[in-house]
């Protein structure tokens, strides 16, 4: 059973003041995420990533289509015991301390006796143990992001949704968030995160999907997505027409001809590997193609 399932999920917003016209933000999204996957939801700003997450969190309602999480419709708030959510650029009550705010969230799950210990444990887990009594309005952006992660996992959810969890963080902060996502996977949780930071997706994700202009462009493992996009073959060889090591790139169908030419020239083949686009190149290609159409 898919942990997250979206079927023809579509969202239109009304735009304009006097004569409101519908503007499609998400167009017939079909998506399945399996248990214990780290699933990357990629796309440029305005692609529809946050709209999708809001639909899954039941913060907005679909124009058509449906979505389920753990087999329950997203409108079923009882299912929220099993999920955690970190919104993009999270906001919290300014005048509460980190300890008070996290305690508030913990209360919503009915924790009683072990609540204080749980709050302490999760603040320490995200590196905010010493900031427990500091008001949230005094937190830096990175600290707020880490606090946001703590509130998303305070109840040990089975599925964690993260909207741009590493955006706006310094390299150390990004590393910490990445480590936390990997920890969540080790613990057997499913992680669904949106990002436009491609190296994060390459590092963390079992599978990714690419969204552009509200439409799903592709979905699969990072490797699978590029399997059909081999740009050519790179051959590294030694000797031949001049001494030393050389590199050449040929088309997939030209490999054997190239081998033959090199053999005749007396070169020694050192290595031969497929040339595939980086995730960034693939991403840009899809986005620009969709933009043109």
């Amino acid at each position: 059973m898919a942990v997250i399932l979206a079927e023809a999920l579509t969202k239109d917003y009304l735009a304009g003041f006097w004569r409101q016209t519908p503007r499609r933000s998400l167009d017939s999204l079909n998506l399945e995420v399996q248990e214990n996957e780290v699933f990357g939801f990629l796309g440029p700003n305005g692609a529809g990533k946050t709209t999708t997450l809001k639909l899954l969190m039941n913060l907005i309602f679909p124009t058509s289509g449906k979505a389920t999480i753990l087999g329950h419709p997203v409108s079923d708030t009882r299912m929220h015991r099993e999920i955690g959510f970190l919104p993009e650029q999270p906001y919290f009550y300014d005048y509460l301390t980190a300890g008070e705010m996290l305690d508030y969230y913990a209360r919503m799950f009915g924790y009683r006796e072990d609540r204080a210990a749980r709050v302490t444990r999760f603040l320490e887990r995200v590196g905010l143990g010493e900031s427990r009594d500091m008001q949230l309005r005094k937190f830096s952006k990175g600290m707020l992001q880490r606090f946001g992660l703590a509130q998303a996992i305070i109840h040990d959810p089975r599925v964690v949704f993260l909207d741009e969890p590493t955006s706006g963080l310094d390299p150390i902060g990004r590393r910490e968030v990445r480590d936390l996502i990997l920890e969540l996977k080790k613990e057997g949780r499913t992680v669904f995160f949106s990002t436009h930071i491609l190296p994060d997706a390459e590092t963390l994700c079992d599978r990714v999907s690419v969204l552009a202009h509200g439409k799903l462009q592709g979905v699969g493992s990072v490797r699978d997505l590029f399997q059909s996009h081999v740009q050519g073959v790179e051959i590294v060889f030694e000797g031949g027409e001049s001494p030393g090591f050389h590199r050449m790139q040929v088309g997939v169908n030209e490999v054997y001809d190239a081998f033959e030419r090199l053999r005749k020239a007396g070169a020694r083949i050192v290595s031969c590997s497929e040339v595939r686009p980086t995730l960034e190149e693939y991403f840009m290609k899809l986005v620009s193609k969709e933009g043109q159409s």
């Binding site: 039941n58 913060l59 708030t77 959510f85 919503m108 998303a152």
Partner: protein, 256 residues
């Protein structure tokens, strides 16, 4: 769940300094009543009760409107709702929790101001009179009025910006204060159409005039039990309708 949200709303409001400022000004006004009372020979008690209850009512209304109109709007605008509603919280529970939290805040502030008024009476009369119990009934009526006003402000907050919600809430409050006059105007009129219209408006609009017993309390007149029971029932029903409408609007609203 409602209690958890209510307690947090109260805690957040208490940390917001604007409330302290309002309570401070209200206590200042009550202190001024003592001064005015001292130069009003023979009617010090009446003046202090009158000015004191008026100050509590005015500042209570200001607090209810300022906090109430932004109650839901602020949560949507600042996106604090996103993390809350991803927890096992239903939207109607959120509405009910926010309402109860604001009512708790208003009650605590009103009790602070009431303590100031009682101290002022104690200072002027060198003790308390049995009729001062009526002051507490007056305060209770002010609280009922604030609970009703908060319900209306919350309803506006579910779909309007704070500016529009402030205009709407204050407009309804002002009209509600004079709703008796609207009905009387209809009765004076000979036009049956006008009579039906004013009568309809009287029953539809919140009747804030029914909570104004400040003059009776100041003159130490007893407040009839039937009026107390009637006002309690009225507020419970009116607030229930306002909260159900708020929950219905909010439950179907996209949180962009």
């Amino acid at each position: 769940m409602i209690a958890v949200i209510a307690w947090n709303t109260f805690r957040e409001a208490v940390r917001d300094r604007i409330l302290f400022n309002l309570v401070f000004f209200a206590l200042l006004m009550i202190s001024a009543a003592v001064l005015v009372g001292q130069i009003s020979i023979g009617i010090e008690h009446l003046i202090i009760v009158n000015l004191g209850l008026t100050a509590i009512s005015l500042f209570g209304v200001a607090m209810a409107v300022i906090l109430g109109v932004a109650l839901i709007y602020k949560e949507i605008e600042r996106r604090t709702l996103y993390t809350l509603l991803s927890k096992p919280v239903r939207r109607w529970q959120f509405i009910a929790g926010k309402y109860c939290g604001l009512c708790l805040t208003l009650t605590v502030n009103t009790l602070f101001m009431t303590a100031g008024l009682i101290l002022a009476l104690f200072y002027v009369d060198q003790g308390l009179r049995p009729s001062d119990l009526q002051v507490l009934v007056g305060v209770f009526f002010i609280l009922l009025q604030l609970f009703l006003l908060t319900g209306i402000a919350l309803l506006f907050s579910c779909f309007a910006t704070p500016a529009v919600a402030t205009l709407g809430t204050l407009g309804l409050y002002m009209v509600g204060v004079f709703s008796e006059d609207i009905r009387t105007f209809g009765e004076i009129s000979k036009d049956p159409m006008m009579q039906r219209l004013t009568s309809g408006l009287y029953y539809l609009l919140p009747n804030f005039g029914a909570f104004n017993v400040i003059s009776a309390v100041a003159h130490e007149h007893p407040i009839p039990g039937a009026l107390i029971a009637g006002n309690i029932t009225y507020v419970v029903l009116y607030v229930a309708i306002a909260l159900i409408a708020s929950a219905a609007i909010f439950s179907n609203r996209d949180l962009k």
